[in-house]
Amino acid sequence: MTEKISFTINGEYRSVEIDEEMMVIDVIRDVLDLTGTKRGCDNATCGTCVIVMNGKAVKSCNTPASKMQGANILTIEGLAKGMELHPIQKAIAESGAVQCGFCTPGIVMELHALLESKPDASETELSNALNKHLCRCTGYEPIRDGALIAQQLIRERMTEKA
């Protein structure tokens, strides 16, 4: 059974045909060719596939594609404004949090959902969010450092605006 759904992704309005057994990750990667979102496991444990849907971090590998109907979706490709990186991308790139980079898009999106809605998130909130992601390379410390720098940059951006 196919079904037609429409949604906004990275600021663009899109309409696509989906099969009913499709997950959000299949639409993003295989229909829309947005390959920045990664698949690292078979049963929603690793966090590499996390995207932001209606402001919340969700695992795209176990969210049915039909949930995309009418949604506002953000993937890793939608963060940078032209050549200008999002503060989270900048912080994560500079803190040493990137080694192989396979876990990176999911982590960046997780932090985006948290910090854009809650720039004052506590360390516990940060660590609860990051604890949902596996990274085999970095030992996590540089990811924490990057998250803290990102939080700082986002706060600064807010005071500038105010």
């Binding site: 496991c41 078979d42 790139a93 080694q99 898009p105 996590y140």
Partner: protein
């Protein structure tokens, strides 16, 4: 030594691509007309295949072809040619490919897999090396005697022993006659998985022009190229292998693994590229496993603590195909001394065929497993001798003038083991322990020393190609695989230093293409910074020499009367007489357009100098270079749950020269956490039938954010004579000392010796209960 661009933290050249989602990994590649494969795995871990019926599967929607191993006449492998791309008449492990479906989409391919019917005649299953070595064991490879193998290997046809390696130093076992005290122990480092976040995958395309094009998440493109060319009888130059970004390796993407299977499948649909990407379950159950090493160790010492003799027997459960395990066993055997000198050694390593997926490289390559034994034994020996364990170790460290098991003499320039140990001792043991226990916890501290050499090979060279562009920027190509370890950053900094130009003017990309990239054996053994770095320095010297040659004609002087500073080539006596490199890069163009000199480009390579095969005693220049280090853990054991918390972990390595501080810290942070996973959580478990019980991340637990300890990481810099600017290998080393340090800390906390990992809360609780029973008995 003060360098301009070394010892400073530059951002990775691939960082931006990775944070914007633009880095292209294997599964992100889409080719015109690409088909997808799904692979059928057997019901049994060891069985004869009686029949395969593919007729139903062939009728499924989207199916283009169903493939079996029937008709396959070749075997492959670089050490022992025992591998087949797909089971022919027999399956030997639970992850072995039995058949495959090629379809228009992965979904269609997987749907049709269920329709393939296979009849099996099951055979006995062996998981542990010693079961498979028993007299009456059924042979896993009846044809062992017919397999091609490296002349240095010693297989035992008619048994399940794929190789026996033996090393004798001094008087061998007779050396124990000189010992006052002897201790013995048996230690187990169970099966593990590298479990990189990106699963394995490959794309293979047999093209109509008879070339073969391959993409793979692998660190050995040149081995894949040579092997596939050999198997399909085409010139090596007609096979082209591309390596995209790789989402972590840690060992199991080395050697040729999944590529031959995908090539076999794709060979049935010439003209169409075929892609296969492992599910997480397949990544754990069908690619290379790790470890599976049991170490039986006996140490003899004088009463004053001087070590005299070591006997080690390594039983390596090598899996169903031993091509990838044999060298791990050899490394585990001769490195079982740890960083200590023994006058007499009798070391034996058995690589044994078993019915698990093939066992291969894991970060540390044969060093973590036996040194887990050595470092636990050093603490036990100290107790037996009633001696301070630091003092016992200090007496015996390899140092200037001592010889290791291989008979290699150690020089001052090999690094300072003792300095590493002393520094870690200061950091962790410098102050008295605050408490032994409180209401909730027991507290412990433990130490481990370590050493590692690369596992080289006679042809283990690394190439570098560089060209200077007309603006003086430099493009560098290397065949080394970037798996996340940051070697492109290292390339940039070393090239910058050698060429005296800022790192921003050096560009190198992650992708490898065997047609355009210089040759590299494979990117293993923590060798890239050393050997690859050396190739860069050599290429830079040649490039500078080329610039001088052209400039000599322009300035009408001798080449050796010229100096180079990154921007100009000038007269030694008068720097104002000079020519900018920007005017030399394409040769020098005179006013009337006549051009002199050559393009500013160069090629070089570097190998481990004087690396050799083992002699009849198992000795030789097999190590060549060593990195020493020391590590220590501070832990808490929760009384109620038996859970172990590692609160602080310290590591000090003598790395010769730090190239990039932020990056080297990252290497150690990640490596230590991997070692912590091995010590406390990770084990790939089998049932008696050879099925894997925990092939998913929620079952095979790798350390998470909240489990990461606070780490202190420092480096000592005794320059190495081989590595570029004195740098030594460090990639694998941080995992080695972690399990023994943690297990030594457990003993310190609760007085219980563990001989195998992982030490789970259940095991701690059992031990605590047994201890209480003993107290009341």
């Amino acid at each position: 030594m003060a360098y301009k661009y070394l010892g400073k933290s530059y951002i990775r050249p691939d960082a931006i691509n990775k944070v914007t989602g633009k880095a292209v990994f294997l599964d992100d590649i889409r080719l015109p007309g690409m088909l997808h494969a799904a692979i059928l795995r057997p019901k049994y871990a060891h069985a004869r295949i009686l029949s395969i019926d593919t007729s139903e599967a062939e009728k499924c929607p989207g199916v283009v072809k169903v493939v079996t191993g029937k008709g396959c006449t070749y075997r492959y492998g670089d050490n022992i040619r025992d591998l087949v791309p797909m089971a022919i008449d027999k399956v030997r492990h639970i992850g072995e490919p039995v058949a495959a479906v090629i379809a228009d989409t992965p979904r269609h391919a997987y749907a049709a897999l269920d329709k393939i019917k296979v009849e099996y005649d099951p055979l006995p299953v062996y998981i542990d090396a010693r079961q498979a070595m028993s007299e009456d064991a059924v042979l896993i490879h009846e044809e062992l005697g017919e397999y091609w193998h490296l002349p240095t290997l010693n297989p035992k046809p008619g048994t399940n022993i794929a190789n026996v390696y033996h090393l004798k130093k001094g008087r061998g076992e007779e050396g124990f006659e000189e010992a006052d005290v002897i201790i013995e122990g048996e230690f187990n480092y169970p099966f593990g998985s590298c479990a990189a976040l990106e699963p394995h995958g490959s794309i293979v395309w047999f093209k109509e022009d008879r070339t073969i094009e391959i993409w793979s998440s692998s660190i050995c493109p040149f081995i894949i190229r040579d092997d596939i060319a050999h198997s399909y009888g085409v010139p090596v130059s007609d096979v082209r292998v591309h390596i995209p970004d790789i989402g972590g390796c840690f060992g199991y993407k080395s050697d040729i693994t999944v590529e031959q299977t995908i090539a076999w499948i794709a060979s049935f649909v010439p003209g169409r590229p075929v892609k296969w990407v492992a599910s997480r379950k397949e990544d754990i159950t069908s690619t290379l496993l790790a470890h599976g090493i049991r170490t039986v160790m006996k140490i003899g010492a004088k009463r004053d603590g001087k070590l005299v003799a070591l006997k080690t027997t390594v039983y390596h459960s090598g899996g169903a195909y031993s091509d990838t395990a044999v060298n791990v066993t050899i490394a585990a055997t001769h490195n079982s001394t740890g960083p200590y000198e023994f006058e007499h050694c009798d070391l034996t390593g058995y690589t044994v065929y078993t019915n698990t997926p093939p066992v291969g490289a894991f970060r540390g390559y044969g060093h973590p497993e036996p040194q887990f034994a050595t470092e636990r034994m050093m603490d036990m020996l100290a107790r037996k001798l009633n001696m301070d364990p630091f003092e016992l170790r200090r007496k015996n460290y390899l140092r200037e003038g001592s010889t290791n098991s291989l008979g290699e003499r150690m020089w001052k320039s090999n690094g300072d083991m003792q300095a590493c140990a002393e520094r870690v001792q200061q950091i962790v043991f410098g102050k008295p322990k605050e408490k032994q226990e409180d209401d909730q916890f027991y507290y412990g501290r433990g130490f481990a020393a370590l050493m590692k050499s690369p596992k080289g090979a006679p042809f283990s060279t690394k190439g570098c190609y560089m060209k200077m562009n007309i603006d003086g920027s430099v493009s560098v190509n290397m065949g080394g695989a970037e798996v996340g370890q940051g070697l492109r950053t290292v390339v940039r900094q070393i090239a910058a230093e050698a060429l005296k130009i800022p790192p921003e003017k050096v560009r190198c990309y992650n992708e490898i293409d065997t047609q355009f990239s210089p040759y590299e054996w494979q990117t293993i053994g923590s060798m890239f910074t050393m050997q690859g770095g050396r190739a860069i320095v050599r290429a830079a010297e040649k490039l500078i020499q080329g610039l001088k040659k052209t400039a000599a004609q322009v300035l009408r002087t001798d080449e050796d009367y010229l100096e180079y500073d990154g921007e100009y080539v000038y007269l030694r006596s008068d720097p104002s007489i000079r020519v900018p490199v920007t005017q030399l890069a394409r040769g020098y163009i005179t006013d009337n357009g006549i051009t002199i000199g050559d393009l500013a480009q160069s090629v070089a390579d570097a190998r481990l100098p004087r690396y050799s095969n083992p002699d009849q005693n198992g000795q030789g220049n097999l190590g060549v270079t060593y990195t020493f280090g020391a590590q220590a853990a501070e832990i808490r054991i929760e009384k109620k749950t038996g859970r172990i918390y590692v609160d602080h972990f310290a590591s000090v390595f003598d790395v010769g020269q730090v190239i990039n501080p932020i990056q080297i810290r990252g290497t150690v942070l990640g490596g230590v956490l991997m070692g912590l996973g091995a010590a406390l959580y990770e084990e790939v478990k089998f049932d008696e039938e050879g099925r894997i019980l925990n092939p998913h991340y929620f079952q095979y637990h790798i350390p998470t954010y909240k489990e990461a300890p606070q780490q202190t990481i420092e480096f000592i810099e005794t320059p190495d004579p081989i590595g570029a600017f004195g740098a030594r290998g460090i990639g694998e080393h941080p995992v080695i000392g972690v399990p023994p340090a943690i297990l030594n800390a457990i003993y310190d906390a609760i007085g219980v010796d563990f001989y195998e990992i992982p030490v789970t809360p259940e095991k701690i609780k059992q031990a605590l209960e047994a201890r209480t029973e003993k107290e009341y008995a």
